[in-house]
């Protein structure tokens, strides 16, 4: 690691750890920055990739458990579509925090610390890992983080983690075949002709 990079990293660690949350203490044992190269400026675009194909992943077993449980609290299964963990969102988040690019590197520490915080919070409140909680209790913790404007002062950094984690989960879910179907995207199939909107869509907006 270059000296300048090391200093920046130390500064960001200091800034993060300065936040008043003793239960995140074991986050100090977090993984070092991601290593490995990106996919380069000329990757095969047609190849089908999965997390771990291009750079090594980060999550340990415990991080995987809490990541999956939190994804599913954000996007649970319903009668129409599966939960986030069913379509590989936790693996995507692992790929994301492990990526060597600056944008993802800046997410790495907050996300890993946030996962540790969620588990610590679950233990503090309910004496159990987050992944072992029932949906109601998981939602209670999430609910406290889902109002960044009204969050308690000591939850501010956890709330900003939750927003980021939610945004990534949301994007990752709806960019899968199952997620696209759940949203109502039915394109990406070749057609013989494009005949414009169906009658019922036009009627819906008062054009027919």
């Amino acid at each position: 690691m270059e000296r300048r990079t090391a200093i920046q990293w130390m500064l960001s660690v200091a800034a993060t750890l300065a936040l008043p949350d003793p239960r995140a203490a074991d986050a100090a044992a977090l993984s070092p920055p991601a290593t490995g190269a990106g996919y380069g400026a000329d990757p095969s675009m047609v190849r089908i990739y999965k997390p771990g194909d291009v750079w090594p992943l980060t999550f340990n077993a415990r991080e995987r458990r809490v990541a999956a449980a939190l994804c599913d609290a954000i996007i649970p299964a319903d009668e129409l579509s599966p939960a986030a963990s069913f379509v590989g969102v936790p693996e995507f988040l692992d790929e994301w925090v492990s990526a060597p690019y600056a944008a993802q590197q800046s997410d790495r520490r907050p996300l890993l610390e946030g996962l540790a915080w969620i588990d610590a919070e679950a233990k503090h409140r309910f004496q159990s890992e987050f992944a072992e909680l029932d949906a109601l209790r998981q939602a209670e913790i999430c609910g406290d983080l889902a109002r960044p404007d009204k969050a308690r002062a000591d939850l501010k950094s956890a709330a900003s983690f939750f927003k980021r984690y939610r945004d990534l989960t949301l994007g990752a879910y709806y960019t899968t075949p199952e997620g696209m179907k759940a949203a109502g995207y039915v394109g990406n199939v070749p057609l013989v002709a494009f005949s414009g909107p169906p009658e019922e869509a036009l009627r819906h907006v008062g054009l027919a």
Partner: protein
């Protein structure tokens, strides 16, 4: 003739072209069809759209769900490789540290250049766009008029295949009968804006895009384009039959493996290669145009990127089509005793008068679209409609505070979800929270496809503060001096962006749209930075005299008569139209001139 390496180059060519994009491709096509022996030099590698373009891949099949990274700056599946604003080892510099005085420069190092990933929007410049000084008292009149270029617009549209409709609009010209392919049906959002936008003075019509809405007419078009040239007719017919009509799926920016949209390789270089008159040298970074003692161009010196060694290609004529600023850089780097300030620069105008589209956007939520019955809105992989500029009466003499105008492009419909598609869902749902759980899924379903936005792209006339020059210190990885950019928006552009923002807001409100309540007070927060629309042109503008311009009306440099430009560099201003179609039309016109002059023995 075919793909060559620096060791299999022929001893001499009639014409050496630098660049394989829209301008270089069109020049190579026109010249080789007329029997001229041509070499195209391309800085990037060969690229096969048929096997390398990722048309149907989902974001979930790419690293990081295909978000942009420093390696793929328009996202993983965008049809661009070795490309971007920042390319390692190939810097450019800024004269100013202030963001609004900086210029962003996209480079695309691959066969076919930027034609691989553009939006295929193909609008003609209108009569006013060629004569801004006469009309608005600013900028420079081009030495050509719309009537000079109109026949070439027809030819290019017939060759590449452009859909659209003739609307009889002022300054957004119709094509000749039988030239355009039929426009596709409009989408719900486009139709809705067509009906209700009238109240905001917006006329929504079919856009013109280089996409085959049906197969080309391989029986009749070749004879129309190449009368009396049976070989050219045969080769073009063969190429047209190899191109399929659009199958109404996948974003055009991903490239098109079935040849339904235009890229330079599919439409220009493939038939040009079939003539036997074209060699293409990939992986060669042009460094300098060489000249002889008489001041005539003799060819191009290049760096073979595979070996690092220097090579030279000899040509009786040299055509620069490396992208406007890369061609400018080549001219400035071609210094000699005869041309101590760079080639073709006796006017001192090389690098001057760089312009880009003036652009901003605004979007909102259209509640009427909520709960719309699910249907497929992919269509032709890009917009089907647009809002042309029609406020000519109000702006007859620049009464709106800016010259020219702008058109609006749609951002609408249920396009394939990306990582950012649903980030607005909390705001749409209201309440101030971060949605999660089953409610999140419900709101996504409810609001998907309900956002509608417009991006404006407008006229920019040249000014003295927007130019480039060689950086006195910095060199690229091959030791070639790099460009340093100066950028200056004038009140014209700032006034135009304010008008864009107010107009789009009005339009969205007439559609019943929910838009963020307050206009941005700082105009620089709304407007896109210089260069970021990737429509930069100018730097070697055409004009009526050698003292005031770099080229004549044929894109032929005043100082070196066998040196031509075929990209956006000769543009004397930016219109409220996208530049690619005009680049091709001017390249064809230039190539016709080269053929004629070669036959007369003048080159």
């Amino acid at each position: 003739m075919a793909l060559v390496t620096s060791s299999t180059l022929q001893d001499a060519y009639d014409v050496v072209i630098v660049g394989s994009g829209a301008g270089g491709g069109q020049a190579a096509y026109t010249l080789t069809m007329e029997g001229v022996k041509v070499l195209v030099i391309e800085a990037g590698r060969s690229f096969d759209p048929a096997s390398e373009a990722a048309m149907f891949q989902l974001p979930s099949q790419a690293p990081l769900r295909a978000v942009p990274t420093p390696d793929k700056q328009y996202g993983f599946h965008d049809c661009s490789i070795e490309s971007g604003w920042d390319i390692p080892g190939e810097p450019y510099t800024q004269n100013s540290k202030e963001p609004d005085k900086q210029f962003r420069w996209w480079r695309q190092r691959m066969m076919g250049g930027r034609t691989n990933h553009w939006g295929r929007i193909s609008l003609r410049n209108g009569p006013y766009d060629f004569k801004p000084r006469s009309r608005w008292g600013a900028g420079f009149d081009w030495p050509i008029s719309y009537d000079d270029v109109a026949p070439y617009y027809d030819k290019v549209e017939l060759l590449v295949g452009v859909f659209g409709s003739n609307e009889g609009l002022e300054n957004s010209p119709d094509s000749s009968p039988g030239v355009l392919l039929p426009p596709p049906a409009l989408r719900v959002g486009e139709l809705y804006a067509q009906k209700h936008g009238v109240r905001a003075g917006a006329r929504v019509t079919s856009i013109h895009r280089a996409v085959l809405s049906r197969a080309q007419d391989a029986e009749r078009t070749p004879a129309r384009l190449h009368p009396g040239n049976s070989k050219a007719q045969r080769l073009l017919a063969e190429n047209m039959r190899r191109r399929a009509a659009c199958f109404w799926a996948t974003d055009c920016h991903r490239g098109c493996s079935i040849g339904a949209n235009y890229d330079s390789q599919t439409v220009h270089l493939r038939p040009a290669l079939a003539t036997g008159n074209l060699d293409i040298l990939p992986n060669a970074m042009a460094r300098e145009v060489t000249v002889n003692r008489e001041g005539r161009a003799t060819g191009v010196t290049f760096i073979d990127k595979l070996t690092g060694s220097e090579g030279h290609a000899n040509g009786r004529v040299v055509v620069l089509a490396a992208s406007s600023q890369e061609s400018v850089r080549l001219l400035l780097n071609s210094k000699s005793n005869l041309f101590s300030h760079g080639l073709a620069n006796s006017s001192g105008k090389v690098g001057k008068y760089v312009t880009d589209s003036v652009s901003s956007s605004l979007g909102g939520l259209i509640p009427a679209f909520e709960g719309m019955p699910v249907h497929n809105e992919d269509g032709a992989g890009g917009p089907h409609a647009y809002v042309p500029w029609t406020m000519h009466a109000e702006n007859r003499n620049g009464g709106l505070g800016f010259p020219g105008g702008y058109h609006l492009e749609f951002m609408s419909g249920r396009q394939m979800p990306s990582m950012t598609t649903f980030l607005g869902v909390d705001g749409f749902a209201g309440g101030g929270g971060v949605l999660f759980g089953s409610r999140l899924k419900e709101e996504v379903r409810r609001f998907y496809g309900c956002s509608l936005g417009f991006g404006a792209q407008g006229t920019m006339l040249p000014n003295d503060g927007s130019f480039c020059e060689l950086d006195p210190e910095v060199k690229d990885r091959w030791g070639i001096p790099v460009l340093r950019f100066h950028w200056q928006w004038t009140d014209f552009e700032l006034n135009q962006v304010r008008h864009q923002q107010a107009h789009i807001r009005h339009l969205l409100e007439e559609l019943g749209g929910r838009v963020k309540p307050f206009a941005e007070a700082d105009v620089f927060k709304s407007m896109k930075p210089g260069g970021s629309v990737i429509h930069e042109v100018g730097g070697a503008i055409m004009g009526a005299s050698a003292a005031e311009s770099v080229t004549n009306q044929w894109s032929q440099t005043w100082d070196v008569k066998n040196l031509f430009l075929a990209d956006g560099a000769p543009f004397a201003s930016t219109a409220d139209k996208n530049p690619t179609l005009t680049i091709m039309a001017l390249a064809w016109r230039m190539a016709d001139r080269v053929v004629e002059e070669l036959r007369k023995g003048n080159l």
